[in-house]
């Protein structure tokens, strides 16, 4: 029998002391077996939301259920079915991987023998089986992240929460984690709630995405939907001569929604860009403007982010760091 693996969030609010409103009334519904991407810059309210859903903190108001259990009133039940890998990896650096995993299994009710067998399998799974005699304090960042993932899986969770699972990892380890997340989801049918500040990550992994900014969800849908709804395709034309760029913008201004100039390149934003290519080429030739190259760009999640928040995700991150 397939258990309820949904996450249902209704008007969830978190206000910290000092009137800091970290999460301002969010609602969403994660279906069983889905990878749900929760995308936003630092300080957007992602970790606060995860902390509420995993029972670490109480919501100020609103309601959330994980696998049908209320996170406010049925915390023990939620903890039993939810696996959690937080952004801050919480493992004792003096312990060894087998000790950590076996202890975790026993806490969840397994016998020592069962827990040890499970620990061995999980270490194989995350490719840490050959470093079991080393204290985890000596692990690299990627190894610690993988061990943390294994710890979150010990009790066979129905729902897995991953709070920025690849932040601080090198590109190779990041791809390893992506691979792992996808396989866990496909093979075990685990619902995965994943927060990230990387557009690429959300795009690659998530079946559906919610974009959170300033404690509010500003957009939600599949990656394709979001791109289709908010992003715009563009034709990018690079000229041999930088002087031609301005002329081109003048020539084409009536055809496009907006333009963006970057040195010798002009980005022309318009709907149905592919069909518009011949017309653009004709006009430019008629005006005797020499093109060096022409490319088409599909909308990206970055465009979506820009259109719903008014800033690029990178800028939002920079602003956060400056603040």
């Amino acid at each position: 029998m397939q258990s309820n693996r949904e996450i249902v969030v209704q008007d969830l609010v978190k206000q910290y002391s000092g009137n800091v409103l970290a999460v301002k009334g969010i609602s969403f519904h994660v279906k069983s077996g889905e990878i749900f991407g929760f995308l936003g810059p630092n300080g957007a309210g992602k970790s606060t939301t995860v902390a509420m859903l995993t029972t670490l903190i109480l919501p100020t108001s609103g309601k959330a259920t994980v696998g049908g259990y209320d996170v406010s009133t049925q915390a023990a039940e939620v903890r039993r079915i939810a696996g959690v890998a937080l952004q801050e990896i919480g493992i004792d650096p003096l312990m060894k991987s087998m000790e950590l995993l076996t202890l975790q299994g026993q806490i969840f009710g397994a016998s020592k023998k069962q827990a040890a067998a499970r620990a061995k399998e999980l270490l194989e799974l995350v490719k840490l089986a050959d470093v079991t005699d080393r204290r985890v304090g000596k692990y690299s960042g990627g190894m610690r992240r993988r061990l943390d993932l294994a710890l979150a899986l010990v009790h066979e969770p129905d729902v897995l929460f991953l709070d920025e699972p690849t932040t601080g990892l090198d590109p190779a380890s990041r791809r390893d984690v992506w691979e792992e997340v996808r396989r866990l989801n496909q093979r075990l049918g685990i619902t995965i709630f994943l927060t990230t500040q990387y557009l690429e990550e959300a795009d690659m992994l998530a079946n559906r995405i919610a974009i959170i900014n300033g404690g509010q969800i500003v957009a939600e849908g599949t990656p394709a939907e979001l791109k289709g709804r908010m992003g715009t395709e563009s034709i990018n034309v690079t000229f041999a001569n930088a002087d031609d760029v301005e002329k081109a913008v003048r020539e084409l201004s009536d055809m496009v929604q907006r333009t963006q100039v970057d040195r010798k390149t002009v980005r022309l934003y318009l709907n149905h860009a592919a069909q518009a290519v011949p017309a653009v080429v004709n006009r430019l030739q008629a005006a005797q403007l020499e093109m060096a190259s022409l490319t088409l760009t599909q909308p990206t999640l970055d465009d979506v982010f820009l259109s719903v928040t008014g800033q690029r995700l990178e800028q939002a991150k920079d602003a956060e760091q400056a603040a």
Binding site: L58, G90, L94, I107
Partner: protein, 276 residues
């Protein structure tokens, strides 16, 4: 990491409503704490050496002078001063429990455990019991050193065991205090500082001379200091013989202190684990 597809994960095989019994949880967490504590010998060895050092120094510098003190002449000064070393070894040993909790909070492992169905009280007890084991090793080694220096307690081996038992009680009571501070602050400096606050207590008492020789404010202070009664109980075992009143007062002082510190520790645990 493309292993999942071809590996077959066996189920953990647990009934989701299954739960480890409380004593089993305590035993498991105690063993985990001990493993970790033994991996940080730097936290244990210095306090051990200090305890030995004080025993040797006090005995060497005050041993002969004590012959001129009424109430001490003729009896063993080593037997008189040993309890001071035992008590300070017990107190510093108890500090390890608090340090251990702080370490878990700092590493984030404490929060990770909070996300499991583990009993919060078992977590606390496991750490305290592990600290107590270390403490018994520490105080035991101090007594062993005293025996090598010629200690011959009036109550023999049994008296030594009772002395260690009282030290254990005192240490566990004090561990409640350090663990409470650790949970309250989550800060290593604060916990160490608070442990240090108890240091004066070993001197605001009949440390070097019998309580009858004290006078003025220090005598008043000593009367309210539980350590006074612990020292007297241990000293009676060393130099006088079996004295039920003294033993009862010593044990009573530890229990009373323990009730206060454990109440504090539990309320600190609640404060830390309360969801806000």
């Amino acid at each position: 990491m493309s292993v999942i597809a071809n590996s077959s994960l066996t189920a953990l095989g647990v009934n989701r409503s299954a739960r480890m019994s409380f004593p089993a949880q305590v035993a498991m967490l105690t063993s985990r704490s001990l493993t970790v504590m033994f991996r940080t010998p730097a936290a244990i060895i210095p306090t051990l050496i200090i305890s030995w050092f004080f025993l040797v120094i006090y005995n060497a510098s005050l041993g002969n002078a004590s012959n001129f003190l009424p109430g001490l002449a003729g009896s063993s000064y080593l037997g008189f001063i040993l309890p001071v070393s035992v008590v300070s070894a017990a107190l510093s040993g108890a500090g390890i429990a608090g340090q251990s909790i702080v370490r878990d909070i700092a590493s984030g492992y404490f929060d990770k455990l909070m996300l499991t169905p583990v009993s919060r009280a078992a977590l606390l007890l496991g750490t305290i019991i592990a600290g107590a084991v270390i403490l018994v090793i520490q105080t035991g080694s101090v007594v062993l050193l005293a025996i090598l220096m010629g200690l011959a307690p009036k109550t023999g081996l049994l008296g030594i065991l009772v002395t260690l038992g009282i030290a254990l009680l005192l240490g566990v009571a004090f561990a409640g205090f350090t663990v409470g501070i650790a949970l309250r602050t989550g800060n290593a400096g604060a916990t160490q500082g608070a442990s240090f606050l108890f240091f004066p207590l070993t001197f605001l008492t009949a440390t070097f001379v019998p309580v009858t020789l004290l006078s003025g404010w220090i005598k008043t202070a000593a009367q309210f200091n539980p350590i006074t009664y612990v020292l007297e109980a241990m000293r009676s075992l060393m130099n006088t013989g079996w004295q039920p009143d003294a033993l009862l007062r010593g044990v009573g002082a530890c229990v009373l202190l323990g009730v206060v510190t454990f109440t504090f520790a539990l309320s600190s645990l609640r404060a830390r684990t309360r969801r806000r």
